[in-house]
Symmetry: C2
Subunit: 75 residues, 2 copies
Amino acid sequence: MPKPEILDPQGKAIVGALPRLGFDAFSGVRQGKRFELTVDGEVNDAVLAQAREAAETLLSNPVIEDVVNVQVVED
Amino acid sequence: MPKPEILDPQGKAIVGALPRLGFDAFSGVRQGKRFELTVDGEVNDAVLAQAREAAETLLSNPVIEDVVNVQVVED
């Protein structure tokens, strides 16, 4: 997700559009990215550590984005 | 997230780049979007239903994207 101090123009546009479309419950919106990494076999600690490092170095831009969550989802 | 039958060129590019950077545990990557909606006050069922409807109609493109998860996160 964009860091709190970074302006998020897409989020601002969405929060302006929501009430015009009848969604009046929300005071703020921020837009970020979500990645699904497929692992063949078991997700052990080493794989999870690799996923965390990839998220922090390759999948996100650490200058402007924070990694919010890395979790295992069974398929 | 992009629907399974939709090609995801960004994901393909990432899955090609991962092993070159030392991340060898992943066989597939798909890239989608993540939104944080701020609610002032309590998140009741009505607000959550509104968030779900917004996710399915405004925040995602239902032709090519699926809503994967709508959940409440305390701040």
